[in-house]
Point group: C2
Chain length 251, copies 2
DNA sequence: CGATTCGTTGACATGCTTCAAACTTCGTGG
DNA sequence: CCACGAAGTTTGAAGCATGTCAACGAATCG
């Protein structure tokens, strides 16, 4: 298992966080003490395990160290609404109610290790500035999802979704053109407000158009330019220049 | 104008904030000094004026004192996406980018006065706990909107929208059964991801069913129970017991 | 190796958008 | 104060995208 390797070199373990603006542990925590405690707080989960459930007491938030998770809520009639997918380096578990309970559940999509950041460990200095930076990212995510759901058709949503994933993988040093989907079609549909069949059909159609190649959960983006055009409108700041290079590559 | 009356009694002016958990000025600011400065920071805007625009530098957030505002983003192709409506006591302007720029624009829907809360005035103590409480409300809002857009049809969205408004008016001491819409059909459609025509048609149909009476922007909810049923699933914590009394009234 | 979950494809129904037009309200300038 | 134009609202008709229902193939798991 990875546990052995991970517990040896603290600093090196944080390479996944660096592309996201430096290791959060170093940024948010002021004392070496706290950082030590933090390093012991990481957990490894197998696929399908809860990191936390809606309604539970919340005294921390998390960073994905490896693997991926999905955040979702369950409606009164048992329907699931996926709120987001989180990749290595992403912060999740920020959505806490006023009474410090979880607003949503988070479950692992594959074998995943996460880093716990107890609220109590936050240094006073970091709370104001940096906490806002983290919430900013979450709000931008939410706004982007709202924009997709309200204004885009199925093609636009799927294209946006894939483009977003590609950008996020790219920003972490992975390939932006070839990656695996860690979530099911069901999850994607739940996230984008589409039926599973629509997700499947749309992906097939994209493949027929030569925009991408898809086999089960394996995706290769062949024409990122066109994908972007289909995706249409993005929220201004959401994707900085991350995929501009990719765009140029395909020109 | 109201300016004269408003600048005289600081404490009494805050009655609009109290139903929302106490005047934010008293809660967030530690010094009397800061509170004095704050009181001078309120602004009155006429209908259709910007409180702030997307991309501007952000050094504060706001509370609606009277009137109402809408928050929205503009997509690359000029389309507008409304992100929320804010009533007296509501906090807005929390969605700030990492670089401290506005993520969205906010414009008044009627003659409106707002209270400025400069970030610099926040006391160190209040930043951690209370700031999170405020962001929690914002995130709950966002999640609820996502849920509506992803899972509900036009009827459900409109019903939810009206129910939400009714609850929020009720929590502020206004009638939950009779109120004015401060926003246009266009705005409602922009918010709920529906065409204006659909909004209009749905309202008309609700009236024909005897659920409500609507005349231009005047709304009377006749059968809140049925409205709730149509609205369907709500996010768990979003509406506490606020409208339970209303429910019972119509039983 | 069977059972179950996941993904794909087809046919059909329908809810919403789009386009078009009429009416009302409101603001502005004559 | 009235007239006019612009904006907001309502209603109808038609087209289409997406959901629903159903069936099948493929991969995964115990």
């Amino acid at each position: 298992m990875l546990t052995q390797a991970q517990s040896s070199h603290l600093v090196h373990e944080c390479h996944v966080c660096e592309p996201r603006g430096g290791c959060l542990g170093m940024v948010l925590l002021n004392s070496e003490d706290a950082y030590q405690q933090l390093s012991h707080a990481k957990r490894i989960n197998r696929k399908g395990e809860f990191v936390f459930r809606e309604g539970e007491d919340a005294d921390c938030f998390y960073v994905v160290r490896s693997g991926s998770v999905k955040s979702y809520m369950v409606t009164e009639d048992g329907e699931e609404q996926v709120l987001g997918f989180y990749l290595p380096g992403d912060v999740f578990g920020m959505d806490v109610t006023e009474s410090q309970h979880r607003m949503s559940s988070t479950i692992t999509l594959e074998t995943t290790s996460v880093c716990r950041f107890p609220h109590a460990f936050l240094s006073a200095k970091s709370e104001g500035v940096n906490l806002l930076k983290i919430t900013a990212e979450q709000m931008q995510r939410d706004h982007n999802l709202v924009l997709m759901l309200a204004r885009k058709d199925a093609d636009g949503r799927i294209a946006s979704f894939l483009d977003d994933l590609a950008c996020r993988y790219w920003s972490r040093g992975y390939s932006a053109t070839s990656f695996f989907l860690t979530m099911s079609r069901q999850d994607i549909g739940c996230y984008l407000g589409l039926a599973v069949e629509t997700v499947s059909r749309t992906l097939t159609r994209f493949q027929e158009c030569g925009v991408l190649r898809v086999n089960r959960r394996e995706v290769d983006i062949l024409d990122h330019d066109t994908l972007r055009k289909i995706a249409g409108t993005r929220v201004s700041n959401v994707s900085p220049d991350c995929c501009k290079t990719v765009e140029l590559k395909s020109v």
